[in-house]
């Protein structure tokens, strides 16, 4: 059974909830410490994130670059808006496919849930063109390859 819940909120937002067996402090750190982000925010097997800049402070920059080691790659850039240590992160981000997509606003909350954490992420639904680019890329390289594009939404 999947622990992840993904719903649309009207036609403007996506809301993702997921429970983790770790305290909010740890889940928050795994989202803001570049050395930890590099380990999980990836894509299909074989993809890595050689560049991971994550300045966890208001106005701080985010820059993720992914590669499949065979010449294919893409990147995501963003800026932090607000951080409340261990409970809330607000940031904007855009994918470079390679043209930049419109900014997506993302709010991530970490709430204690027993001994674990309930994470709730609310983000702007990408526009039609962006979604079409995601799907088109998926069709071209097989569904797997497109997942890495989708990571940009995180």
């Amino acid at each position: 059974m999947s622990k992840l819940k993904l719903t649309t909120e009207g036609d403007t937002h996506i809301v993702v909830t997921r429970r983790f067996d770790a305290a909010p402090e740890a889940v928050y750190r795994a989202h803001t410490d570049p050395k930890l982000v590099q380990k999980w925010l990836l894509g299909p097997e074989g993809w890595t994130m050689p560049v991971c800049i994550n300045e966890a402070k208001p106005g701080g920059k985010i820059r993720y670059e992914w590669t499949n080691g065979k010449g294919a790659g893409f990147s995501l850039t963003g800026e932090y808006l607000e951080l409340v240590p261990f409970s809330r992160i607000a940031h904007v981000e855009r994918m470079h496919l390679p043209d930049p997509t419109p900014d997506s606003h993302v709010e991530t909350r970490f709430d204690a849930d027993g001994t674990g954490t309930l994470m709730t992420m609310r983000m702007t639904l990408p526009d039609t063109q962006t979604r079409a680019a995601m799907l088109a890329t998926g069709m071209e390289h097989g569904m797997e390859a497109s997942y890495v594009r989708l990571e940009g939404l995180l």
Partner: protein
């Protein structure tokens, strides 16, 4: 990727509870405007308006049968949205499963140690 261009319209169309109910009814089989109006306690023009939105979103198609125009679900329109959301879901699941492992391997803070 013509089909994905209707995704915005699809999401808008589905944001309305009456239109979702109409789709649920059509999922059971074809129906005319008259047949649809009865259970929803709506006027036929109101139903027609909702159907127009659903049709332009690619969710519903009409057939001509004499003077009747029965509507049915357009599976392609729903599939495109499902497919996109499905890809998104799978991407999140993959990463969060990996995050579970990262969290399990992280050092637990020692007693008395400040974060």
């Amino acid at each position: 990727m013509h089909v994905t261009h209707t995704l915005d319209a699809t999401f808008s169309a589905l944001a309305d509870p009456t239109r979702r109910a109409i789709l649920a009814r059509l999922a059971q089989g074809e129906a005319t405007v008259t047949q649809l109006a009865a259970p929803f306690k709506l006027t036929q023009p109101a139903i027609s308006q909702h159907l127009k939105v659903l049709e332009s979103a690619g969710l519903v198609i009409r057939r001509v049968e004499g003077a009747k125009r029965p509507r049915r679900i357009a599976k392609g329109g729903i599939d495109a949205m499902d497919q996109w959301l499905g890809m998104l879901r799978k991407a999140f699941e993959r990463n969060y499963d990996r995050l579970d492992e990262v969290l399990a391997s992280m050092e637990q803070p020692k007693k008395g140690e400040r974060q």
